[in-house]
Amino acid sequence: MKLERSDRGPLWAFLGPAIVLMVAFFVIPVVYVAVVSILKWNGISTPAFNSLRNYLMLFKDKAFTRSILNNVIWALVAGFIQVPLAMVMAIILSRKPKGWKFFRTVYFFPQVISGIALATMWRAIYNADTGLLNGLLKAVGLGHLAKDWLGTIETAFPAVLIYWIFYVGYYMVIMMADITTIDESYYEAATIDGATDFQQAIHITIPLIRRTSLLTCVTLASVMGLRQFEQVYMLTNGQPANTTSTIVLYMYKKLQDSNYGMASASAVILIIVGVIFIVCIRKLFEGRGETVKVKKGRAGK
């Protein structure tokens, strides 16, 4: 569509501020980080050109490759386990069973608590010596399973990840809001045709939220997974033996070492991984044709 000359002024008036903000707070910082990533700089001396050595050193460092792997696992778990769990909860609670408001509040409650506080609480639960988890295991006669959950290579990363999966409230509320916009007549028609609740969820609800709230939640959750920091920092600081490290934690440690070149290079890699993830998720959700082509909330109108 070609814009009339008279439309251009208002268009730029509306877009202008957003573009300026985008350039100031995103484009310039990203370019700055990209430039620093090819420098050798301790933050105080004169920077020196370092070619791609920072990137080469990153990929030689097992702690960094492990961090990427952990972030990818985290993003996948977030997008494809945490969000589906949230979706199940959203579908169930949207049917408004008895006590649904109470459960909605309970599931959402962890979202209003800071990640640091939650991590501190879970650190106490996992404590090998005085922790609740080992205490419970001992109490039910499974004391032989008690271990240093955060200090054992096999259990540390799952321990950091697993509790977080169940904090589904944020995504659940987004999807619930979307589900409530679906016209009731679909469900009424399906019920007349003999469809069970499960069949209605599979054939009506999920297809209708797939490209809206579900896509949004999967994208958000995956990006959150890629950005993980405070949870790992508080629980393990990336240990034992860097097995729970994430890219942001790795970047933070390089900043502590005043190695701004490598910290920026790891930030660039994080951006690239993030872009790849978002593109893949969008492709995945756009790949197949829509199962239900009717617009939500407009049936019968």
Binding site: T152, A156, Q239, P240, K253, Q256, D257, S258
Partner: protein
């Protein structure tokens, strides 16, 4: 008449301008001081009094504004960022994790050498600030010192059947076995957080094996590998979960009286005297004794002591001479021997400033001072001897060592690689 009026107006304006100038000159100088000596830090109560007194004495001229930093690591991160972005605080507390040479050469910090040479330097221990000078500039003024030597619980030792602290590391491990047999942790270790306690033990072992020149060849000295083997063995005699433990766990076990030996800096002494940490009305300090680092058979470290600069005072370079003088005045005030004596008494911390110890100084502090005075030589704590990358990597390398992911040589190699990458 008009001329007279104009003259009067002109004179009024000139007078007003002069007054403005005087007012500007008399403007109160604000010194921004982000400090970690706040909150629960043992130096906090006296520092608060001291700064309030300074502000009172200089009311209307100088005002020190403390920016409270209650988390040591967060304070380091913030300082590093503010310095990098050109917003160096007027006065700040730094430690050995900063690249002192680069920071000094950056020109962002005030050179205190001329002031020290002007007589102020006599207040400091011989050679204390020269050791940290770069091309004759003293931008990092060593203020708080620390000695690291074990403190042990005599009551637990008696229960285990020991009436003395092990003199050698062979004897030390015999003690560890006896402690374990009686259900006690010999000592606290931690590979979580920054691995602080274990890093201190590592320093002690490195010193015992390698002696005073152990850092001469970096991490190439065989003492580092041997010390890693010994440190790994120590994990058999500490509490469960030490690999993921932090300082809170180590301190908690020590305060719970289930751990026989404690290793930390002198700033922790005040906690030994806290009523809150007493048990059955007995202060922990009453059951404590100060030991010296055990000797390593065939080692070079007998009589040595591990020390560090716990805190440097560093001030931002100032363009305004009046502000520069004000900052120096405040630093001189802080490092006044009488003030430092009272600060040492209230906190148990040790300092590079020469001061007359108070007769009320706690027994443990007196013994720590005695150990420091008796030392044949001193060796710096590993975190001050190597670039920051060493300390950052230490917990990862240590947990890999304890869990068998790397051997002692691999542990040292991992630390070396981290240093090389940061160089």
């Amino acid at each position: 008449m008009k001329k007279a009026l104009a003259l009067l107006l002109a004179l009024t304006m000139i007078f007003a301008l002069c007054a403005c100038g005087k007012q500007a000159k008399a403007e109160e100088i604000t010194i921004n001081f982000p400090s970690v000596w706040v909150g629960t830090d043992s130096k906090a109560p006296y520092m608060e009094q001291l700064i309030a007194k300074f502000n009172e004495e200089n009311a209307g001229k100088i005002k020190v504004v403390v920016e409270e930093q209650t988390d040591y690591q967060a304070a380091r991160d913030k300082l590093r960022t503010t310095i990098t972005t050109g917003n160096t605080p007027d006065l700040c507390i730094l430690d050995t994790t900063y690249d002192i040479k680069a920071y000094t050469e950056s020109g962002k910090f005030m050179d205190l050498a001329p002031y020290l040479a002007d007589g102020w330097g006599k207040d400091f221990a011989e050679g204390s600030y020269d050791a940290w000078s770069v091309d004759g500039k003293v931008c990092f003024l060593p203020f708080e010192s620390a000695v690291f030597t074990p403190i042990y619980n005599t009551k637990i030792f008696n229960e285990i059947g020991w009436d003395h602290f092990p003199a050698t590391y062979d004897e030390f491990f015999q003690f560890c076995k006896d402690a374990k047999a009686k259900g006690y942790n010999a000592m606290g270790q931690m590979a979580g957080e920054n691995g602080w306690s274990s890093m201190l033990w590592y320093s002690l072992i490195v010193e015992a094996i390698g002696g005073k020149d152990v850092y001469a060849n970096g991490l190439q000295d065989p003492a580092f590998v041997k010390a890693a083997e010994i440190l790994k063995e120590m994990y058999d005699y500490t509490f469960d979960g030490a690999i993921s433990a932090g300082a809170g766990d180590v301190n908690g076990h020590w305060l719970a009286r289930d751990t026989a030996i404690y290793l930390n800096g002198p700033w922790w002494v005040a906690n030994l005297y806290k009523e809150d940490n007493a048990k059955d009305g007995v202060l922990l300090a009453d059951d404590c004794e100060v030991a010296v680092n055990p000797k390593y058979e065939g080692g070079k470290g007998e009589g040595g002591l591990v020390t560090t600069v716990q805190a440097f005072l560093a001030a931002a370079e100032q363009t305004d001479p009046a502000k520069k003088e004000a900052v120096v005045k405040f630093i001189k005030y802080l490092t006044d021997p009488q003030h430092v004596s009272e600060l040492a008494l209230s906190s148990g911390a040790m300092f590079f400033v020469k001061y007359e110890p108070s007769p009320d100084t706690s027994l443990i502090s007196q013994k720590l001072t005695q150990v420091a005075n008796d030392a044949a030589f001193t060796v710096i704590h590993v975190n001050g001897a190597f670039p920051t990358a060493f300390s950052t990597e230490f917990p990862a390398a240590l947990s890999a060592l304890i869990l068998g992911q790397v051997d002692a040589q691999g542990f040292v190699d991992q630390l070396q690689t981290a240093i090389d990458n940061a160089a």
